[in-house]
């Protein structure tokens, strides 16, 4: 069974979703929780069986799909993807378990299970087309979730979300086809397998163009400034569960893809574009933080804060050294946990008051102390307080990038200031002061169902903040592999200089026989 664990992880929820159509509407919630729990346990089992000392792919499977065109179903997992998969399973589980009363809950749960398939698929796919397949497919359930259960502008938001991402990924698809074509030119075979592509050394100019093509797809997904404007709408309109999954997992696809595709495939281009991207990342960090400060809607604050944090992740990724990349991967998980939790928390108050405007609240700390406490913890995690999960990622990302540029890191470091500004002022508006609105006087504190989602998140937030080693170790191992690969593949002087030589024989690189002409 372990040999096929990844396929099981992908298709089990999908199968369960199809069978879910049969399940009675009143029992669907239990069904969903059961399925998601099984999936989560499977993911944990994967972790248990995972060998942290291997930097390459594990549990690989390969099935021919369109061999004539080099498309195969190849999946595998390494330290980079492992934890995002677990996170996806985890969030689906607690997301379904904490669902409140909603219309058409059956459709929602089935959609969520489909979404889970696509999420896991994206992170384990090792064939560009299979990756693209899940990548695109993930848009559909999300479109439905936002569009059917969202707020008043839900249709605008969902369509915008879909089309924006779709456009970007089509450009990326052209890039992928180009890559395959180069591979074809070099070796005479068609292949979309990522590990095959890793062996290809491209001339710099091609690298640059391809990098740009891939960049469009990834940057919109992340979303990077100036492609970020779909995000506030999507978050603002989505139901709680939609925002949670979107923030926790879907956004990570973009940054994950940068590490999986852009860096190892185009090391020279990564170096070439490092500064422009870093500048964009810094704009994301500061600018969106300021925009977040100007928001009146708490959910928008959290949404913009996501963009801001994604800027740090991007920066860490383009540090191009082990510290930075490890940090950015860790921050992906951290941000997933924290922003997911924040969206849960916003959902809690929205369920009670049916408004997200901060001016409608005030003084909630005395009415809902538990809620305020958890919100406070997550707020502090979000601003990157040490011993919370976010700090580890942020610290490492910034530390890594400092190697590349001092000034830019200094600017990016303002994340810790501007982040505190909008978060604290939002917290102050909501929780401090005296209760002014009568509706707020008797709000019930968080209930058991909500605690079921929030307590584990709080525990993870602190646990991984204090003891990140279980995650850092496997991530570090795989990142070392990637950095080594990048160093060996890079051709320009500058790239050799910028990408550190770890000088450890990872046994991963076999010098390519096929260099592109």
């Amino acid at each position: 069974m372990l040999d096929h664990i990844l396929s099981i992880l992908i298709f089990f929820p999908a199968l369960a979703a199809i069978l879910g159509f049969v399940v009675n509407k009143n029992s669907i919630r239990s069904y969903g929780v059961a399925v998601a729990t099984v999936e989560f346990l499977l993911a944990l089992w994967l972790w248990f069986a995972f060998d942290s000392n291997v930097s390459g792919m594990q549990f690989m499977e390969q099935i021919a799909l369109v061999p004539a065109f080099g498309i195969n179903y190849i999946v595998g997992v390494d330290g980079i993807s492992l934890f995002i998969i677990i996170l996806a399973a985890f969030f689906t589980m607690i997301g379904i378990a904490s669902l409140g009363e909603m219309k058409d809950i059956k459709n929602l749960i089935i959609t969520l299970l489909f979404l889970q398939m696509t999420m896991v698929g994206v992170f384990v796919a090792l064939d560009a087309i299979v990756f693209y397949l899940f990548w695109e497919l993930s848009l559909v359930p999300m479109l439905y979730i936002i569009g059917a259960w969202g707020g008043p502008l839900r249709i605008y938001a969902s369509v915008k979300f879909f089309l924006y991402t779709f456009t970007g990924s089509l450009v990326m698809l052209v890039g992928m086809l180009f890559m395959a074509y180069f591979y074809h030119q070099a070796t005479g075979d068609w292949s979309f397998a990522l590990l095959d592509w890793y062996r290809l050394i491209l001339p710099e100019s091609f690298q640059n163009w391809l990098f740009v093509a891939f960049f469009f797809g990834f940057a919109i997904k992340v979303p990077m400034f100036p492609f970020h404007t779909w995000l506030p709408y999507a978050h603002g309109q989505a139901p709680t569960i939609g925002s949670v999954i979107l923030a926790a997992i879907l956004l990570k696809m973009g940054t994950y893809a940068f590490i999986r595709f852009s860096l190892p495939l185009f090391p020279d281009a990564s170096v070439y574009f490092m500064y422009p991207i870093a500048v964009l990342a810094i704009i994301m960090i500061i600018y969106t933080a300021m925009v977040a400060y100007a928001q009146k809607d708490i959910k928008q604050v959290v949404a913009y804060s996501s963009v801001s944090h994604m800027g740090v992740i991007i920066l860490g990724t383009f540090a191009l050294n082990v510290e930075g990349i490890t940090g950015s991967i860790f921050l992906m998980i951290a941000h997933g946990v924290v922003s997911g939790a924040l969206f849960f928390l916003v959902g809690v108050i929205y369920d009670r008051r049916h408004t997200k405007l901060m001016s409608e609240f005030g003084g909630l700390a005395s009415v809902m102390p538990r809620y305020a406490t958890i919100f406070g913890i997550m707020l502090m995690a979000s601003v990157g307080l040490p011993l919370t999960i976010n700090f580890v990622g942020e610290f490492l990302s910034l530390l890594g990038f400092y190697k590349q540029s001092h000034i830019l890191t200094l600017l990016a470091g303002t994340a810790i200031i501007v982040g505190a500004i909008y978060m604290l002022s939002a917290y102050k508006k909501m929780f401090f002061g005296v209760v002014t609105k009568d509706e707020n006087r008797n709000l019930p504190d968080v209930n058991k169902k909500e605690l079921f989602a929030l307590i584990p998140l709080t525990v993870i937030t602190i646990w991984l903040g204090v003891y990140p080693k279980p995650l850092l170790e496997p991530i570090n191992k795989s990142v070392e592999g990637i950095v080594t690969l990048m160093h060996e593949k890079s051709i320009s002087e500058e790239a050799k200089l910028r990408i550190p030589n770890i000088n450890k024989d990872m046994g991963l690189i076999t010098k390519s026989s096929g260099e592109a002409h």
């Binding site: 100036p226 925009v291 040490p386 011993l387 470091g413 401090f432 002061g433 003891y467 170790e473």
Partner: protein
């Protein structure tokens, strides 16, 4: 011995978590008593460690577990008990134990009693991490942790707008400095390859001065924030919104001195860059004077003490900057005792006066609050530096350091500040405890605090008096780690002239303050007196207009810029472009769909038109192909 270390470190955490258990429940005494007791345990452990270090000279270094390890980076949770940190541990645990016990009484009537102790103990834990950590990252954990607790405690009475505002201000301002600190840490890592103190400091002498200077500057920026040095000082006065025990513990005795601790801890670094040290010293001297001047006229009892704290921090930085690290640390310790005492006394007064803070509305309280009166007076004397109290030994030493190092300007400034310090301290004592009983006008019936609160304060009283006696032992101990420069004025005559002169100056200032503020005709100022309308007074009471400047030109600008970013740039430009593209496509569709008029004749015309268009292109191309030779010659004739 590790057991004592861990006990000292973690018992505050246990206390905090214990109190947190009762966080949402109504007030229970036990939530205050247990943390206090656990702090006592921590104090005892620290004392044992102190004795160990003092007697044997051994230091303790443990590594609890790995925190972060990736690439070449390795950061453990490591703790060190050496001569410097043990002093800090003593100060922290001692003052916090006192404050805890005191707070059991002080917070007696507060709804958030349980919560308060949870926060307060959490603070002590963070502070212990800060001082005990064996690396910069661990230091940073504590650094941010105390920031968090400070935020929680300043904003403890969160229903007050001013309190939550002050909390946020403190946090954000500290964050600005923390960025500097973070950058400093990055610099240390990338240049020395480690964040462990021993490793990093060992590698530093081989680095070039420019790098070291940058490291020094960035680390000091961090220190400036936590220790509220100019220009990041405004939060400290506003932080007085928190409960008084908090002010005593965090904003006088411990947290604000973390910056000094950092500089002292990094003495091997600052030794290498004396220029930065001089800057630190100059800034310290400036802040000492600057803060003291604002304290002269302030009409908020706690703020006066806060400014005095600020001023004393300036002294400490002046000493540290001049390389007299042990002196700075000594003053830190002494200051912690008498300043905490002063604050707690102020807390008693506040309680008695039902949270009235304006000393002009008090007067004559000495009669009803004898204990408090004595304690505050002693503390003020100590602060003023009168022999033989603690302040004399520590503060006068700093003056000597400046003098001996030939920094006469700094010396002069500090000397003048000493006079000012004495003046505003006794202005306060005079206004509160002497003179007319003005509080009667406001219908207040003051009463003395609980006995046990006074008892709890007594250790501080004792230490404020006798701390100077530890000087020799202390010197022997810490100089095993810190540079053991002794500061003696070379000629005995000069020494005596200086010492006595200083004492006289201070004494005069005290006398003047008493004379001025025990008069019978002291009135609550109503903004009409001549002094109140003078420029200097206005400048000082408005804190040199610095908060105003921050509010007007930074906070407001930030808020407005944010608003512009959101409404103008994000919505109009960035999103507008995206929607604009979609709209253009849609509008093109709407405008060109008239082409599909549904009329067959039009459709036929379109078809013919299409053909004709193709034909014309064909003809152009065909002609060009046929006459390509001629065209080329014409073009070449035209010089194309």
């Amino acid at each position: 011995m590790e057991l004592f270390l861990y006990t000292a470190l973690f018992s505050p955490l246990v206390g905090s978590l214990f109190a947190a258990l009762f966080g949402a429940s109504p007030k229970t005494k036990i939530a205050g008593i247990v943390p206090s007791a656990l702090l006592g345990v921590s104090l005892i452990s620290s004392t044992i460690l102190l004795i160990l270090v003092f007697t044997t000279g051994h230091t303790l270094h443990v590594e609890m577990m790995t925190w972060m390890a990736t690439g070449d980076l390795y950061i453990p949770f490591g703790f060190v008990v050496d001569q410097v940190s043990v002093v800090m541990m003593m100060v922290v645990t001692l003052v916090s134990t006192v404050v805890h016990v005191y707070a059991v009484g002080y917070m007696d009537h507060d709804k958030g009693f349980n919560r308060f102790f949870s926060y307060l103990s959490a603070f002590v834990f963070s502070m212990m991490i800060l001082v005990m950590s064996d690396n910069f990252a661990g230091l940073f954990i504590g650094w941010e942790g105390v920031g968090l607790c400070s935020w929680l405690l300043i904003g403890f009475w969160y229903h007050k707008e001013s309190a939550s505002w002050a909390a946020n201000e403190a946090f954000i301002m500290n964050r600005i400095a923390d960025l500097g600190m973070l950058i400093g840490i990055f610099l240390v890592y990338w240049n020395t390859g480690t964040l462990q103190y021993d490793g990093a400091f060992a590698a530093m002498p081989s680095l070039d001065t420019a790098t070291l200077t940058w490291i020094g500057i960035f680390l000091f920026i961090g220190a400036m924030g936590k220790s509220a040095q100019f220009p990041l000082h405004t939060w400290l006065a506003d932080a007085m919104e928190g409960p008084t025990p908090v002010s005593a513990l965090i904003h006088a005795a411990t947290m604000v001195t973390a910056g000094v601790y950092l500089v002292v801890r990094s003495s091997p670094l600052y030794e290498l860059i004396p220029n930065v040290g001089l800057f630190i010293a100059s800034l310290g001297a400036f802040v000492a004077l600057f803060a003291a001047s604002m304290a002269l006229v302030n009409r908020d009892m706690k703020r006066v003490i806060a400014y005095s704290t600020l001023s004393q921090l300036g002294y400490m930085f002046a000493a540290a900057g001049l390389g007299a690290y042990w002196v700075a640390l000594f003053h830190l310790m002494a200051h912690a005792f008498f300043k905490a005492l002063l604050f707690l006394g102020a807390g008693n007064v506040m309680h008695a006066m039902h949270d009235e803070l304006d000393p002009f509305k008090m007067g004559g309280l000495g009669k009803v609050m004898k204990g408090t009166f004595v304690m505050m007076t002693v503390a003020s004397v100590a602060l003023a530096g009168i022999f033989p109290l603690a302040g004399f030994f520590s503060k006068d030493l700093i003056l000597e350091v400046a003098f001996v190092n030939h920094h006469y300007v700094i010396y002069a400034v500090l000397l003048f500040t000493a006079a000012l310090t004495a003046f505003y301290s006794f202005r306060l004592v005079a206004l509160i405890f002497h003179g007319e009983e003005r509080y009667k006008l406001f219908g207040i019936h003051p009463h003395e605090a609980y006995k046990f609160m006074l008892v709890a304060m007594s250790p501080l009283l004792l230490l404020a008096v006798i701390a100077g006696a530890f000087k020799a032992g202390y010197f022997d101990m810490v100089t095993q780690l810190l540079p053991d420069t002794e500061y003696h004025v070379h000629s005995a005559a000069t020494y005596w002239i200086m010492t006595i002169g200083t004492q006289l100056l201070v004494g005069f200032a005290i006398f003047y303050a008493y004379k001025k503020y025990t008069r019978r005709d002291i009135k609550v100022p109503d903004g009409t007196s001549k002094m109140e309308n003078s420029f200097a007074y206005k400048l000082l009471i408005n804190q040199y207009y610095i908060p105003y400047f921050y509010e007007e030109y930074i906070v407001k600008a930030y808020r407005e810029l944010s608003e512009i970013f959101w409404t103008k740039i994000d919505q109009k430009i960035v999103d507008g472009t995206v929607d604009g593209i979609a709209n253009i496509l849609y509008k093109t569709g709407n405008t060109t769909r008239v082409m599909q008029s549904g009329n067959l004749s039009t459709m036929l015309k379109w078809m013919v038109a299409g053909t004709v268009a193709l034909l014309s292109l064909a003809v152009v191309f065909g002609l060009a192909a046929r006459y390509s030779g001629e065209i080329k010659s014409i073009l070449s004739g035209l010089g194309v």
